[in-house]
């Protein structure tokens, strides 16, 4: 193994090189990809077996089975999160597909989006795929890697109206202490947040400066309709 070659790599190429290297170590433990050493619960396996045994296996609805969408909506209602109905929910093939779908819908080439550091690596891949640019929001161990509202506010510009926010922070797994004083003004005054394929929330604030995404995605609110829907002033 030529370590100089590995040092020259970045992003996914570095990950693949390290995974190949780890294959040569018999007792290596993978800590990088989210492969917990757990078995799926028996009743979950039984439910999947029963579904697989059905004689007719039609494709699932595009947005997911009604039963699962309803269950996910019920889960959302149990927390201080947006009240979502089942028709607000889209079942995705892993959180990562959801991340790419949202980035594809929200970002135009040249857009900038605020992302915490450290962060889940797929954020960058999805953002680059859209021709957009990640702008790092530094976080700190003493905050459990939570985003400081004042730091976020200072980084918001007319071009940066979107933000990924991932509670708990991924990968460091810190979470926001409930007792921390709530800093509502920066969030209200400016923009947004998103969650990771662990759990993320992607938000956008204020007016969009480009309509090209709307052209590709006709039902997405236009700049005008979006500003009507949100009386709160943009940055």
């Amino acid at each position: 193994v030529n370590l100089d070659d590995i040092r020259a790599l970045d992003g996914a190429k570095l990950r693949y090189a390290l995974m190949d290297l780890a294959k040569e170590i018999p007792d290596a433990i993978a800590l990088g990809r989210g492969d917990p050493d757990l078995d799926a619960p028996d009743h979950v396996i039984a439910a999947a077996r029963a579904a697989a045994a059905q004689p007719l296996q039609p494709l699932a609805p595009i947005h997911g089975t009604p039963e699962l969408r309803a269950a996910i909506a019920r889960r959302a209602r149990a927390r201080p999160r947006p009240r979502r109905r089942p028709d607000h929910v889209l079942v995705t093939t892993g959180g990562q597909e959801g991340l790419f779908l949202v980035m594809e819908a929200l970002l135009d080439p040249g857009d900038e989006i605020l992302v915490p550091d450290p962060r889940y690596t797929s954020y960058d891949q999805a953002i680059e795929h859209c021709g957009a640019v990640s702008v790092t929001v530094p976080t700190h161990p003493e905050d459990a890697f939570d985003v400081r509202a004042e730091t976020l506010e200072a980084l918001i510009t007319p071009r940066r109206r979107r933000c990924c926010w991932s509670p708990p922070a991924t990968p460091p797994a810190g979470s926001s202490p409930a007792a921390r004083p709530r800093r509502s003004r920066p969030w209200r005054a400016s923009t947004a947040s998103s969650s990771s394929p662990t759990r993320s929330t992607a938000s956008s604030c204020g007016r969009r400066t480009s309509t090209s995404r709307s052209a590709r995605c006709p039902a997405w609110p236009t700049a005008r309709s979006r500003s009507r829907a949100s009386p709160r002033p943009g940055p």
């Binding site: 579904a51 993320s200 995605c217």
Partner: protein
């Protein structure tokens, strides 16, 4: 992935619900990473266009995985 209390600071709880899309994974903490299950929760106006993107990308999420996830959601233990 890992459920967390955001201390009431989820952007949707701060009046940004119409501008917020929540992305999540299902079952990772129950050894179900390989089942490839996740979700989006979006305002109604945005859910339809996101569905259209998904249709173009993967058509739908694996049926069997969804029934397993439903069992987990409805009977977590």
């Amino acid at each position: 992935v890992f459920e967390a209390d955001a201390g009431g600071r989820h952007p949707a709880a701060l009046g940004l619900a119409e501008q917020t899309v929540t992305i999540g994974s299902l079952g990772l903490e129950h050894g179900m990473a390989s089942w490839r299950l996740g979700f989006l929760a979006a305002p109604a106006a945005k859910a339809g266009p996101l569905r259209d993107f998904k249709q173009a990308l993967t058509i739908c999420t694996t049926n069997v995985s969804q029934w397993g996830a439903l069992a987990l959601e409805t009977e977590p233990s």
